[in-house]
Subunit: 474 residues, 2 copies
């Protein structure tokens, strides 16, 4: 791959459509102060946690209810102007960038918890509710919402990107946990998908078509998700390993034996070092697994004993246990601060992050080759993984003043994702395609399947106004 | 509802399109003896386990590989003639009927297990593999495929109807367990959806769009599903209750407490009586729950103790336990033979079966009112339910010579499903829409959502040749 090809991944295709003044006037007339054209507001809504850049949207509408979203989409549709839904802005792949211009619809004020049905283990929320807010709201019921992508993302955004994170190995992803949605479609009409029944064979699975569609098929205005009883007992452990391979082989065996582990996270020695420096910890600077067990007291004990046995077969040692919430929080600090610790280790850096997922039997091969390549490149990086699912992230730390570092990092990313695809994996386990993985999606799914996605998109959004330019070109 | 309105549910809309002789000639030229126009073969492929009737398809193609399916669809597409995929014919809602004419593509000879990836807990099969065959094939790996809809259905058919059954409360449905598909689309091209990675955020979830699409978007030619480690310990129990309500309240509490029960099946006292007569058993003729617990020996013991305690609070008694496979088989006889026992109890009868699913907190209300109505009608019925999911089935036993019985049964069905929808449930938990639930789907999902399904259908199948006339009218 030459430098130019590599660079083609770096710059999103900017093809800004005109936003007529008449639309802005109409939005201001309808929304008053809830429609802003202030540059600072537009800029805040025109970027996310990715390293992509594009001109900001022409206006930001702050929606307070479904009708607001519907009206904003109807006005945009009238002028064939793109609309981009905005939750908290924590996307990692450029989902929020106005690469074709248009307006941003900020749903963060739609943050009401609408119905807690504790007896059914479901909760219905507006899309701007964040996962921490949701868990706070249901705390008194003895239930919790397990999906934890790291960021305190909005439930709407998590639905739109099919998010998951640390607990997915046991509780599934947004794919498995969203039961029903309300969606504003491309013509501004409002539909409902799914019901609160836990299973259904009633027609096309529009819920799961919308989950992961990254705002390209509609704006999510209401989400019903599953809740789970808080485990009677929770125990967490940290364990160091002589090599990444040993940690990964341990994980593979845990999964293959069917241990219902709730979390199993890999942190490589690089990242442990960064975390020690950042959080003043004294963790052994070796690859480690962070694990959590949920169940009855005896169940948790059984799982823990079995896992200790497996780990010790692979040279895992120095198990440190935590069963009170405070001790667990301390142990998980390493994982939760990994990103910030890495960024702080190279002041002023930008991060190119990757996200692939492979069948677990391929995990060691995929990871070890990618570690070797990253080490050879000389580019500092961190490596963390939800390894129980075969999902992991590298974050390459770049000096923005050195464009060749970006090219080198994109090459690492390219080689890593290509390797994951060869190993029957996916180009994104949980971050989404956004602007970053469009080429990889074609490699992964094939031209025919991407054409099918495009056909669906064209049929449901004939003027291509719903977050255009993401997932695939239309 | 008057008798005529009720009757409109009974007769599928027959609108047979012409099948040109040139197509039959072309199919015979391409497939030789694997294309049959013998009436007996066509009739066998023109019905299913539903009570609907329609003229048989014009020809049956026995596909032996994906290319056969692709070629048959291409020829059908050329003449704009419907194609109806056929697995083992166990559909309950008329999915296999050639209501618009056309040809049947029988995939039962595509019954190879293509790849067992035991270390990844996945298996890839051709669509004609049945669930029992699949479990036989993976037995030596210590893994199993949990989805059990009762019938020894084909994996392709189970995918197409989003099937589930007794184990879904713990292991999910086909929605959660299909990882990847190969599909022949309406123009005869072949696409792949998904990968063997356990999670992915890569583009639209075409896998789950196809799962449950009832053959209306493509013919499934390959399926990759998840497997699970065989539990170290399995224990089954049967428990009688003084009332259906007591059994249901017990179930609700089991679920709300998060007991990871693997199966919890309700059989009402009517059905127990039929089963006793049919299988020469001496079960107490009271409503009963059949339960199964999977886990470690101590885990299973813990679950069982907790469940016994809950059941006893609701008057549940006469727990009978089974932990050897032979004892479990004997206990499960009651459940597995329920359908045949019911049919035998009224010789010559036909069965109208229903299938709804509600949030579990609504289950008692929904069931009890429906039992009352069925009792009042005087029509014999059986009642079984995967009650852990809020899913249950009534089967009304009709004398085919008495049309008014059918009208009365359809009225019961109508009232029951309407009640389930009012209680935030779905019109079909696992059987699919087929011909039977098309009106209910509109009530459940709303005109807008059904229009979205229709728009997708039209975009992906512009000549409406893929199993037309099912799910919705196009």
């Amino acid at each position: 791959m030459n430098a130019l090809t590599a660079l083609s991944h770096l710059v999103p295709q900017i093809n800004q459509r005109e936003v007529p003044a008449a639309l802005i006037d109409a939005l201001k007339a309808r929304f008053g102060a809830n429609c802003s054209t202030a540059l600072v507001v537009r800029e805040q809504h025109g970027r996310d946690e990715s390293s992509f850049e594009a001109p900001p949207p022409a206006a930001v509408v702050f929606a307070e209810k479904t009708q607001d979203v519907s009206d904003a989409v109807k006005l945009a549709a009238q002028y064939k102007v793109p609309v981009i839904p905005f939750g908290v802005g924590s996307s990692l792949e450029g989902h929020l960038l106005a690469v074709q211009g248009g307006i941003s619809i900020d749903v963060s004020r739609m943050n009401a918890v609408l119905a807690i049905n504790a007896e059914d283990l479901t909760v219905t929320v507006q899309p701007g509710v964040t996962r921490k807010q949701l868990n706070e709201a249901v705390k008194s019921t003895g239930l919790f919402f397990p999906i934890d992508p790291g960021a305190d993302a909005s439930i709407g955004g998590m639905s739109a990107t099919r998010a998951s994170g640390t607990n997915a190995v046991r509780y599934g992803t947004m794919r498995e946990n969203v039961l029903a949605l309300e969606v504003v479609t491309a013509d501004g009409s409002v539909i409902r998908t799914g019901t609160r029944a836990r299973k259904s064979s009633a027609g096309y699975d529009l819920t799961r078509l919308m989950v992961g569609s990254e705002g390209t098929l509609g704006v999510i205005t209401e989400v019903t998700v599953k809740l789970y009883p808080l485990p009677e007992a929770i125990s967490a452990a940290i364990c160091s390993f002589p090599s990444i391979e040993a940690a990964v082989r341990t994980t593979i065996q845990i999964i293959q034996l069917g241990v219902p582990i709730a979390r199993v996270e890999l942190i490589d020695h690089n990242t442990v070092r960064m975390v020690n420096a950042h959080s003043k910890l004294q963790l052994r600077e070796e690859p480690l697994l962070l694990m959590e067990f949920h169940g009855s007291p005896t169940g948790v004990k059984e799982q823990a004993e079995l896992v200790q046995e497996i780990a010790s077969d692979h040279g895992g040692n120095a198990f440190e246990w935590a069963s009170t919430p405070e001790e667990r929080t301390r142990l998980w600090t390493a994982r939760h601060n990994a990103y910030f610790a890495a960024v702080q280790s190279k002041p002023g850096c930008r991060v190119i992050s990757t996200d692939t997922c492979v069948p677990i039997s391929r995990l060691a091969d995929c990871l070890l080759d990618s570690v070797r390549e990253a080490d050879d490149s000389g580019i500092p990086y961190f490596l963390v993984g939800h390894v129980g699912d075969g999902n992991f992230h590298f974050g390459y730390l770049l000096d923005p003043a050195q464009p060749q570092e970006r090219i080198a990092a994109e090459r690492l990313n390219h080689d890593l994702v290509s390797r994951a695809l060869r190993l029957e994996g996916t180009c994104t386990g949980e971050h989404g395609v956004g602007l970053h993985k469009m080429d990889f999606l074609v490699t992964e799914a094939g031209v025919g399947a991407v054409d099918m996605m495009r056909t669906i998109k064209r049929a449901l959004d004939p003027h291509n106004i719903m977050n255009p330019g993401k997932i695939f070109s239309v």
